[in-house]
């Protein structure tokens, strides 16, 4: 395939990804094509081609930025709203009015806070639902209202005769807790903080037990030494027993074998398992050339997983 054909092929590939909505993947290809053309000054219509590709990259960049931007909860149809109320309400069938409460909470879960608040406020007339409804208004309100606005909501309840003094006191404590959990102070007029990350993961290393290790199919190994040092190669696992893994590398992969030093540690290894991808550090336990059999001349490498990184 000559250069012109290669460029044409790459552009077709990028356009396929763009049509599939895979913006990042399309961007990667266009950037590679851009670099390819810049390296070759003898390409016909080089400047026109570069301008076209640059325009495409700009457009895709804008699309990507829009996609990454936090989306506001959309206005949804009454039909969709009813569906959320009905299908995502996990209420207690033994408590009267509980389905209304559950439905309103479901709306709040899906970001329909204004509607949810209206429906929750309508439950204040019921003694057994009032506190739960008010608590949900505060708890979901923190995602949509400033501290000042949320405090104002609470202050309005203070003059609402349906709430007892005890209930107002308890709601005051809940408000304080909600603000504190969001890293805000009561009565402060600070702008709304973003919703905390939902996965709650933190970077930390984990000690490895054999039982903790999933079935690994492939590893991404950064080569520690040699002319290809730093390059990540993907290698299939030949055999695994807990954290002990064995690779068989062909004669042609001698350079990779030479890059691995027995006793050395390699960090930043990616482990691909059918249900997870994780990274960690391995120890090169042994390596040797296979002396007999059908794989004679190939290499076997034993690695031991020392720790995995979560998050």
């Amino acid at each position: 395939m000559n250069l012109a054909e290669k460029i044409k092929w790459k552009i077709e590939e990028a356009e396929l990804y763009r049509n599939q909505g895979l913006i990042n993947e399309a961007l990667d290809i266009y950037r590679a094509v851009d670099a390819m053309i810049r390296k070759n000054s003898r390409i016909k219509n080089r400047e026109t081609l570069l301008a076209k590709i640059s325009a495409r990259i700009d457009l895709l960049n804008r699309n990507w930025e829009n996609l990454k931007a936090p989306s506001q909860a959309p206005e949804i149809s009454d039909q969709a709203r009813d569906l959320i109320r009905e299908m995502f309400s996990f209420d207690d069938p033994h408590v009267k009015g509980s389905s209304s409460l559950g439905g309103a909470v479901s709306l709040a879960e899906f970001g329909q806070y204004d509607q949810a608040r209206k429906e929750l406020e309508s439950l204040f007339d019921y003694d057994h639902l009032r506190m739960e409804a008010a608590r949900n208004i505060l708890q979901y309100g923190i995602r949509h209202l400033s501290s000042k606005e949320l405090t104002l909501v609470y202050q309005q309840w203070q003059s609402d005769e349906r709430f007892s003094a005890d209930e107002i006191k308890r709601l005051g404590e809940i408000l304080e807790q909600v603000l504190e959990n969001a890293g805000r102070k009561a009565n402060a007029g600070a702008p709304a903080a973003p919703e905390p990350a939902s996965d709650g993961s933190e970077d930390r290393d984990e000690e490895v037990d054999d039982e903790d290790i999933l079935d690994i199919s492939t590893i991404g190994l950064p080569l520690p030494t040699g002319s290809r040092a730093g390059e990540k190669v993907e290698l299939d696992i030949n055999f695994q027993n807990g954290r002990q893994i064995n690779l068989v590398l062909s004669k042609g992969q001698k350079e990779i074998v030479n890059s691995l030093e027995t006793g050395g540690r390699i960090a930043g290894v990616i482990f691909y398992s059918p249900v997870a991808i994780f990274s960690g550090t391995v120890y090169v336990a042994a390596k040797k050339e296979i002396g007999s059999g059908p794989k004679q001349g190939d290499y076997t490498v034993d690695l031991k997983i020392l720790h995995i990184e979560s998050g």
């Binding site: 590939e13 396929l16 990804y17 599939q20 909505g21 895979l22 993947e25 990667d28 699309n63 829009n66 996609l67 936090p70 989306s71 959309p74 949804i76 149809s77 039909q79 969709a80 569906l83 959320i84 299908m87 995502f88 996990f90 879960e109 899906f110 939902s198 996965d199 999933l214 079935d215 199919s217 492939t218 691909y272 398992s273 059918p274 249900v275 997870a276 991808i277």
Partner: protein
């Protein structure tokens, strides 16, 4: 969890299409909506963004009629695939009875498939469910692109990546043309109803 009313002989269960962004979950539902008109019991509801990406979920109710003396109703859902909508995926998974994992056959999406399967595993765990026990079927979507010579993974490669440990039924498919869509759903329904029979002994001999 399914609603099983043994007195009225009715079962309503929930199947969720899961998978990475742009893998074709909504296209699967669209195809079912257009093609299986006899089974479709209501409108398909989609809540998506301007860019045509699922924001909350898609929903399609279908009915299978009488099976072993029970009227079977099924709610089909999709989740939003984009990474940032994890909490929405957790909500949609609540009460799930069966899952179709739609994987993208494009080579460039290999890691996204694996990440999404990991996300499913974790979200099920959070919901008190086990990926190894829940009725699950794999669909390797976008096989129609084989004709275009675009870099696709082989079905064998996808099996190794995603299904080596799970060993669940899997189907090559093209949600755009409909190839494999019905087969994937049928197999999932069979597995789910079998699983529910174990739990509730609903089927009449």
């Amino acid at each position: 969890m399914a609603t099983v009313n043994l007195k009225n002989r009715e079962i309503e269960c929930k199947i969720v299409y899961y998978g990475p962004g742009r893998c074709g979950k909504t296209t699967n539902l669209d195809y079912i909506h257009r093609t299986f008109k006899k089974q479709v019991r209501g409108e398909m509801i989609s809540i998506d963004t301007d860019g045509d990406r699922t924001l909350f979920f898609d929903f399609l109710p279908i009915g299978l009629g009488q099976i072993k003396g029970c009227d079977i109703k099924v709610q089909l859902y999709t989740v939003p695939g984009q990474v940032q909508y994890r909490s929405t995926r957790q909500l949609v998974l609540k009460g799930v009875d069966g899952i179709i994992f739609v994987a993208d056959s494009l080579k460039v999406r290999r890691e996204k498939n694996m990440e999404s399967l990991k996300d499913l595993h974790e979200n099920l765990k959070k919901a008190g469910l086990n990926i190894l026990r829940i009725p699950l079927v794999m669909q390797y979507n976008k096989r129609d692109l084989e004709k275009t010579e675009m870099p696709l993974m082989s079905v064998e490669q996808m099996e190794r990546d995603l299904n080596r440990q799970l060993r669940v039924p899997s189907f090559p498919a093209s949600a755009v043309t409909g190839q494999g869509v019905g087969a994937t759903l049928t197999q999932t329904l069979k597995k789910t109803l079998k699983y529910l029979h174990k739990e509730f002994q609903w089927a009449q001999e």
